[in-house]
Symmetry: C2
Subunit: 359 residues, 2 copies
Amino acid sequence: MTQDLIRPVILSGGAGTRLWPMSRRARPKQLLSLAGPEAMITATVRRVVDKQLFAAPIIVCATDQGEAIGRLVADAGYSAGALLLESAGRNTAPAIALAAHWAVSHGDPLLLVMPSDHVIADVGAFRAAVRLAMAPAQAGRLVTFGITPDRAETGYGYIERGPPLGAGVFEAQRFVEKPDGATAQAYVNSGRFDWNAGIFLLRASVLLAAMAVHAPAIAEAVAAAWKGRSEPAGTMITPDPAAWARCPAQSIDYAVMETAKGVAVVPVAMGWSDVGSWDALADLARPDDAGVVAVGDVLAFDAANCLLRSDGPLVAAVGVRDLCIIATPDAVLIVPRGRAQEVRRVVEALAAAGRTDLL
Amino acid sequence: MTQDLIRPVILSGGAGTRLWPMSRRARPKQLLSLAGPEAMITATVRRVVDKQLFAAPIIVCATDQGEAIGRLVADAGYSAGALLLESAGRNTAPAIALAAHWAVSHGDPLLLVMPSDHVIADVGAFRAAVRLAMAPAQAGRLVTFGITPDRAETGYGYIERGPPLGAGVFEAQRFVEKPDGATAQAYVNSGRFDWNAGIFLLRASVLLAAMAVHAPAIAEAVAAAWKGRSEPAGTMITPDPAAWARCPAQSIDYAVMETAKGVAVVPVAMGWSDVGSWDALADLARPDDAGVVAVGDVLAFDAANCLLRSDGPLVAAVGVRDLCIIATPDAVLIVPRGRAQEVRRVVEALAAAGRTDLL
């Protein structure tokens, strides 16, 4: 009955610098324990541990992070079904196609595609949404999960719901890229739009067929890379680097979802966050009465509405308001709450100055 | 003619924590390069290098800092006349009395007593004031230097000027302790008050005589400690620890100046600062157009009116206003400009928590 289990596909290609100085090129966000005691990728794996519903996950990650990720997952007591190693980051469409190739040679299961670095507070709601998505996915639809928006966020793409297809499932009428503030507000007010969180349920062969139609260059390159794969001992598989290198780098949204017909959406409210900034992380935490979130070796006096976090030097804050202060052994970031996205200015300056030790 | 030279006495007993996290118990402010490229005590020594006017300085410091201070001074190309080592801090009156004992056995010169951790921007004005003070000091007066106040500072003691005694020299009518704000403002408005900076010119034997009258317990204990001194090779001298330990710990102001008769004051404006806080240090520096002072490995974007300083991790500040941010390898302080005195709350908390590694 293995073919009846859903095969999770965890995408770990992100090298996000939005949580600098804690996230670095060699230690991206999903490897960090940011929103709890365990690494985000470990929490992602744990979210799909249910032997009645899920097979062991496939993880797609950068070659040089395969060992670290395998160890993290193993240390948490879990095992990956396979680790697919990208010799270069090609965005999500090739990564998902690669996992689909693995899957069609393992019973062509439904794939539950998920980023490795998101928070989902309500795992029960998540699994209930997955169960709702199974029927349309088994019927050959590409199913996406739409996060019920709680604000007019301009940092995410949106999915417009069309006619209902069944209990809790709708036709996905339209994918839209990140809107401006007024448009985002109109979307939220309409009640017909959800956030595109990049989580999908789809059958491996259906995805590959859609990709052959809508993104033939990716389909061809990934097929060639898969054909030329190397599989040493263990669960690690490396697609042919030359073929992989010539694969276009595109998101699954752009390559397939925005143009494919018959895409479905399952709206779900599940305490989701992409943890895309220190502000987002601060919003996830439980602050004290003054609105202060303190993590690590931190002393605060008369502080209010701050995120104070250190895995390096003691952070001693007196009389500060509305700040994110993030300390590591070699770098400290101080930025007002609400402006944490501007960390990119620091990262860009460090890159321009060639300070790769800090990136 | 050696007896005609002034003998500087540099008091280095302070263990100030007001510039934490850079100043520490084992590395007090005067050993740090805070207001320029050299340690503050080195700048203090350099201020009295003038073979026409000054003999080599006597330095009074804690026993466990004698070697470091001797090395600092020697590395700068200077030499101390003597290093007098305090086995315990007893405040300024005993320290000055100790130096006076050394001096009476070396020709009984005028002593120019100075803290080791102050900034004097206008050394010419300082030396001119010293020259003005020589005549009354040679005539047997205790002469103090009064800093012309530029604000109603409540953190300093004040000296009220009495009748003039000669060009630029006045009777010191009254020493007053740190006043409240209204009193300080009245002092400044009156034009008759100067700040007490703890800088004195006096003949060694005169000081000892005044101390015998006004602070006999100190005079007796220091005389005994001096009598029982040990003088190994080199310039280091250690007064008898048992006698030293029983010496009352009092400031020279309290023990002598506030009660002695015939004290004189030489008012002087010389860009003086006691560098008593990060705010004071920020005021000394030349900020950029946005009011930002950046020292060390610091990146700032859209910052205004900030002191940003690191001798440890990179400090990256985006969009911050009106802050002092001070980073060392093991501790980072963040406090609003104008509230830097509150660093004591951090230091007290660390002491209470037994975190001596950070003190």
